[in-house]
Symmetry: C2
Subunit: 219 residues, 2 copies
């Protein structure tokens, strides 16, 4: 098992703590689309991502979604253990956005480690500060950036993540990521198409002029 | 000095740590409007609020503001020590919203405590989780709530905080709190006035029908 390579503070743990982790950590493979954590309803524990990609999001009473952040290889998903953390008063959902392999640190073990190891407690602070930074970035996007820039930014990021200019994504899905309605996305994408920045086909958005899209994003 | 009464984990510190704090903590009186912390630019340390009220906010490149959260008596302001925290990649500004008295824990001492005391480290986690929860609440407000409900909610909260139905606040100030333009606020307040929920006078907004305002907020 190579868990220790993926857990950044492994060397700061005592031998006893390392043994506990080795004994209790389990590996789990999940298919794309699997919900790994669903608000206050469950408490799976800390997830250490070996391969794949997770997405954290919230949704409104009407079912509208907005993506908060994503987690990639070697990232650690903290809020799937939120039941073990005091003062966490919000619900988020975590889904596998690609087929993924994760290690699961059981919530009780995690709580025990936080209470006995300064390294774990301080590392938890760092993780939370990272997520906090991502959320603050999102607020700035929502508050200050117009929707055309946000959409340009989203398409470019997706293209980078997927390593292709042809994004296999529906307008509905994009709307879910951005917390808006499908119609708003469709209208803006058509505008982008008219400007020669993208080409729209069934179930896909092809970036045809990434330079122009970048200029829009950074304008 | 009654600092120990205001520092919730005082009893969990060692005698040595308590002595260090007693020796290094300073008390500071600030006038309403004083900027206590200004982004990455400075690092005043942890602020423990004895009396008064602080406001945390961000602003856009164009100078538009949005209030993130407020801190009251016995709250602890964490991000004024953000230079000491890893992975904090956002800038916020902290101002005294009322005349306030705070204790300042110097950043170096705080860092030292976090690295040697599990109690301090875990408490930092709790503080961050609290602020995180407030930010998540704000995102939900911005994303899912229409502006009329947000404004109703803001007026009611202000009224509660100030203990009066006559809010001495300009439309400009309200706009700053909510990250929008003054015109948008003025338009909505006039609508509220037409509906009999508020009365507008120079430099003040009087809530004349709080029940109706609450109904709007909760609708």
């Amino acid at each position: 098992m190579d868990f220790c390579d993926y857990f950044p503070i492994w060397d700061k743990l005592t031998k006893e703590e390392q043994e506990k982790l080795t004994a209790c950590v389990s590996r789990r493979s999940v298919k794309k689309g699997t919900i790994l954590h669903d608000g206050f309803g469950d408490c799976v524990g800390l997830l250490v991502i070996r391969t794949g990609q997770l997405r954290a999001y919230i949704f409104s009473p009407e079912g509208r979604e907005v993506t908060l952040y994503r987690l990639f290889e070697r990232d650690i998903c903290l809020f799937s253990a939120s039941c073990m953390m005091q003062n966490v008063q919000f619900e988020i959902t975590i889904e596998a956005e690609k087929d993924s392999e994760v290690w699961v640190i059981p919530p009780n073990l995690y709580k025990q480690l936080v209470n006995e190891s300064i390294a774990v407690s301080n590392y938890t602070n760092q993780l939370m500060a990272s997520r906090f930074s991502e959320i603050m970035w999102l607020i700035e996007q929502i508050m200050w950036k117009s929707f055309d820039k946000r959409l340009a930014s989203f398409l470019l990021e997706e293209s980078l993540l997927d390593g292709t200019n042809v994004l296999q994504i529906t307008h509905e899905k994009i709307a879910n990521h951005m917390g808006t309605a499908r119609e708003v996305v469709t209208r803006m994408l058509r505008y982008f198409q008219n400007e020669g920045m993208v080409r729209l086909t069934r179930g896909a958005v092809e970036i045809t002029d990434s330079r122009k899209l970048e200029e829009l994003r950074d304008a």
